[in-house]
């Protein structure tokens, strides 16, 4: 995979393309972005992920030039961009609503930005043809935006924003209006185009699957702050907080008190009269400190008998089963009322399913399966 080689964020000498330095943005009393510092590197596909109202769109609009920071500096290729108006920035944006000009044809929409630059007519034609080929819309050049489908409109919007070969392309929930199947196809198309053109992409999304699929790095945001910035696998496997663990994917959170038991190993007392759990963690915890053990459901095994060598095993009753076709998630209720999710692949036909409602089962996981978090 490309991501194993491409990691400028780990290189201390790499110069970021975009640099947010202690940026704060307030709208009246409301703080949309709170003292945020972030570097984004050239050729990255960077995803800003968060629930609505977390400030991700504001960050994008500040990059495009539609908003300016209340405090702090945003640099693009080493230059403060605050005094540069949107029409003078080497940044283009693909809007959530696509914002195609309804009175212009597909061709003219794509040519719009090139003509503003007083590009010679021949060059405009060549560039538009190239863009149409890139998004495979050659046949639709003469159509108006309302004469093409949603997926095609989305590709026109992409072609239009790429036509000027910007240093940075901003994508604001670009696939929000597409249905799931089309969205998945388009995600791969986007990655392909990003690789082909070598443009730096910053995508705003609230869809974690989308962010994980397309991005080289993901920034999880909440209430104007960055919760964690890392590669998709690290965000998933080693979230740094309960918020991130909970936001990305499905997770069981078990709250308890930690007691050190040898090197990087902790005993977790989490409920009266229940056997304590064991977890390994490189994060340090003091004796008696409150901790949260986050375990992904697919890392919890479900068996009829108690496994002999399991570091952690609890018994419970199958409370509910969510059948997703390829996977099943078992909601197992423990005697103390806690519900723990365990996920298994449906490698056998459903009629041969081992467990059903009300069955007594054992859940088990290894000491390294979960992540121990302070908050």
């Amino acid at each position: 995979m490309q991501s194993s080689k491409f990691a400028p964020w780990d290189d201390p000498d790499a110069k970021p393309l975009i640099r947010f330095k202690n940026v704060t943005k307030r709208f009246g009393e409301f703080t949309a972005i709170d003292n945020l510092t972030l570097d984004i590197y050239e050729r990255e596909f960077f995803a800003l992920l968060g629930p609505s109202g977390c400030g991700k769109t504001t960050m994008m609009r500040m990059l495009a030039g539609f908003e300016s920071p209340t405090e702090g500096v945003i640099e693009l290729a080493g230059q403060d961009i605050a005094p540069v108006p949107p029409n003078k920035r080497a940044v283009n944006m693909m809007f959530q609503s696509y914002a195609l000009f309804p009175h212009l044809s597909v061709w003219d929409n794509i040519a719009f930005g090139l003509r503003r630059d007083r590009m010679p007519k021949r060059d405009v034609e060549d560039r538009v043809e190239e863009m149409l080929r890139l998004v495979r819309l050659e046949k639709f050049a003469k159509r108006k935006p309302h004469q093409i489908s949603g997926g095609q409109r989305q590709r026109v919007a992409l072609a239009r924003s790429l036509a000027k070969a910007p240093k940075l392309l901003l994508l604001d929930e670009p696939l929000g209006a597409l249905d799931k199947k089309l969205r998945q196809d388009t995600q791969f198309e986007l990655m392909d185009i990003q690789e082909k053109t070598g443009t730096t992409f910053v995508i705003v999304t609230h869809d974690q699957e989308e962010a994980m699929t397309v991005a080289s790095r993901v920034a999880v945001m909440d209430q104007g702050q960055l919760m964690q910035v890392s590669t998709p696998d690290r965000i998933y496997e080693t979230p740094n907080s309960v918020y991130v663990a909970d936001f990305i994917g499905d997770v069981n959170i078990i709250q308890g008190r930690a007691t050190p038991e040898g090197e990087e190993t902790y005993r977790i007392d989490w409920s009266e009269g229940v056997q304590p759990l064991t977890a390994k963690s490189s994060n340090e915890f003091a004796a008696g400190q409150t901790c949260h053990l986050a375990i992904r459901p697919e890392k919890v095994a479900i068996t009829a008998e108690r496994p002999e060598d399991a570091a952690n095993a609890v018994q419970g009753r199958v409370h509910d089963i969510a059948y997703l076709g390829n996977l099943s998630t078992y909601y197992v209720e423990l005697p103390n009322g806690t519900i723990i999710k365990a996920q298994t692949s449906n490698t056998r036909r459903i009629s041969r399913r081992t467990f059903t409602w009300e069955d007594t089962v054992w859940l088990s996981w290894t000491a390294t399966a979960g992540v121990l978090l302070a908050n």
């Binding site: 108006p85 029409n87 809007f95 009175h103 309302h146």
Partner: protein
């Protein structure tokens, strides 16, 4: 087809009779042979012929058209500018006051508008004529234009303008190349509204016209005071005809555009 109940039939008949009987009578009598308006003496189109020979009416008609074209054009420019600032200007000092005040001329009695304009023209010493009527009509019709245009601007997707800026337009270019073409239908209907308002205005025109400029409504009104002549009926019938053709063709055009757009969208959805 649903059959109407007797109650609905009666309501419909009464309503439309109320609306159209006066006009039908006017049209019928414009084809009257007799000079006496109230006595039917057979069919004739002679009053239409006579109208064409009446220089006073023709010159009044010319003045009216001139005033209507000029004033509605000025009103459209000013009204569109006003609407743009009020919808897009953000929160500036006195915005609420301004947006309230722009509606005031809509409810102001015409007599008062006319009188105040007359006082103004006398005060600054402009000789009354075509120019003063144009100014007066611009004043009262620009607020109608601004209401029509601002209602369109409120629903205008602002990201279209942002996209234009993003692609390298200056704000002025963005308005000219993107906003204006898209709101053009509202601007045109604002112009048409201003045009008809100006065509039909009697009160304000009487206050602000001078001896050199008489509009058609003034002419008709003063002629009627000497007794209704079939010639006036003929003139009014022509005006009704022009307005009817205008309204019908405008609605046909917009309906056709709507049908075409629907068809295109359905075709696009099928293609997907």
């Amino acid at each position: 087809m649903n059959r109407l109940s007797w109650f609905n039939t009666v309501s419909l008949t009464l309503g439309f009779a109320f609306l159209y009987i006066p006009m039908v009578i006017l049209i019928v009598y414009s084809f009257n042979e007799s000079k006496l308006v109230t006595v039917w003496a057979g069919f004739s189109t002679k009053w239409y012929g006579e109208l064409l020979g009446n220089d006073a009416f023709l010159s009044a008609a010319w003045v009216t058209v001139k005033v209507a074209v000029l004033s509605s054009t000025f009103a459209t420019v000013l009204g569109t500018m006003g609407a743009y600032v009020l919808v897009r200007g953000g929160r500036f000092m006195g915005r609420t006051l301004f947006s309230g005040m722009i509606y005031a001329p809509l409810v102001m009695p015409e007599v008062i508008t006319g009188l105040s304009l007359l006082l103004l023209f006398i005060g600054i010493g402009i000789e009354r004529g075509v120019m003063t009527i144009v100014l007066a009509h611009t004043t009262f019709s620009m607020c109608y234009v601004s209401v029509v245009v601002s209602s369109r601007l409120v629903t205008f997707d602002r990201s279209l303008e942002e996209a234009a800026l993003d692609l390298g337009c200056s704000p002025a270019e963005a308005f000219r190349l993107v906003t204006l073409p898209i709101i053009a239908p509202a601007v045109i209907s604002g112009w048409l509204l201003a045009f008809t308002l100006s065509l039909d205005d009697l009160v304000i025109a009487s206050f602000t016209s001078g001896p050199s400029a008489t509009t058609l409504p003034i002419k008709i009104f003063s002629a009627v005071r000497l007794g209704v002549s079939p010639e006036i009926n003929a003139l009014s019938t022509i005006m009704i005809g022009i307005v009817t053709v205008g309204v019908i063709s405008a609605s046909l055009i917009s309906k056709q555009a709507l049908v075409r757009q629907k068809r295109d969208e359905q075709a696009a959805a099928r293609a997907q």
